[in-house]
Amino acid sequence: MNVRLNLATKPLESQRKFYVSAGLVAVLGGVLFLVLGWHVYSELRAREDLRRKEQDNDRVAAQLTARRTELDTFFARQENARLKDRVAFLNGFIDESSFDWTRMFMDLEKTLPVGVHVVSIQPKREKGRMFVRLTVGAVSDEAKIKFLRAMENSPAFRDVTLLSVRGPSGSANSTDQAVMELNAVYSRT
């Protein structure tokens, strides 16, 4: 006959809670370790890529700088410098002679409302822009305002600056109630 006897001198303590907690922390810590490890690995690879790209850039920059130095030397030769000056001179003249005056007159005609007429036009090219100094006579205040609004809204003229408005002088044209002088930049150049 078998009799089962408990001969332990201390009460049984369960370790289950400890192992579960430790296991959970170990799993979470392990996952975190893997994630961070992968991240650090990626950072290191990116750093390596960066270094390689910097080296590539340095190499290309050295090549381009050498080519540029060679070209600078070539263009600094007396005959080439003279040619550059010749080309710039002729291009400047061609650019000036190809300015479309007819179109500027047409744009001006479109902008002028009824009751306003041109007294004088002084177009002048400066630094690649065509400035127009206009003097116009207006037969009424209404025509004067219409003209100024038309100039301000015209796609052909910009930076319109009114310089002066004079009352009827009786000398140039007795029907004019106002003579305006203004500056504008002609855009279609």
């Binding site: 430790a22 080519r67 070209l71 040619l83 010749r86 005056w101 007294v119 036009i121 002084q122």
Partner: protein, 185 residues
């Protein structure tokens, strides 16, 4: 508690502490590396942009060098198209007379001012023209000047009412323009 069990628990705890410490160290390194990478990356982008501009610059210069013979030929062709200094004055006078008549204008004065351009084999000719006519005639004249086969660069146009002695719609126009004559064959 059993001594062996205590040792086992300590080993487990130590392992967990080491694992968490490694996590903290990796996180710190990762954060630091991320921060320090930002500036070099921005520098690389800026350098790449500069390089691209340099490449465009160099390619343009290369193309200009390659096209130099064509450019020289173009310059020579244009200069050859200019009037020779020996006959230029009469040709310009005749042409402007003709253009003004066709536009219905009468030339009042026509002034020439010659300036030899050293080293260019060219003479710059400044022209001062004063004509009278209506606005429509003046626009027609300007259009003809613009379309002339001889190149004229109009510097300024002053358009003013003709004054008391002229017809009511008459304007007085003063045109300042220039052209070039070639002085060498």
């Amino acid at each position: 508690m059993d001594r062996a069990l205590v040792v086992k628990r300590r080993i487990i705890l130590t392992g967990l502490v080491v694992l968490l410490a490694a996590d903290v160290a990796l996180a710190a390194y990762s954060w630091h590396a991320g921060n320090t990478m930002r500036k070099p990356m921005a520098d690389l982008v800026a350098d790449s942009r500069k390089l691209q501009l340099l490449r465009i610059d160099v390619d343009n210069a290369d193309r200009i060098r390659h096209d130099l013979p064509t450019t020289v030929a173009d310059c020579e062709r244009f200069e050859a198209s200019l009037l020779p200094a020996s006959t230029g004055n009469s040709t310009v006078t005749a042409e402007l007379d003709d253009l003004s008549k066709k536009a219905g204008l009468q030339i009042q004065t026509l002034g020439f001012r010659h300036k030899e351009l050293q080293g260019r084999n060219l003479t710059e000719v400044e022209l001062e023209i004063a004509v009278n006519g209506t606005y429509a005639n003046i626009v027609k004249f300007m259009n003809s000047v613009q379309r002339s086969k001889n190149p004229y660069a109009v510097d300024s146009v002053v358009l003013q009412t003709g004054g008391q002695q002229s017809a009511p719609n008459d304007l007085h126009i003063a045109v300042h323009m220039k052209t070039f004559f070639r002085t060498a064959a």
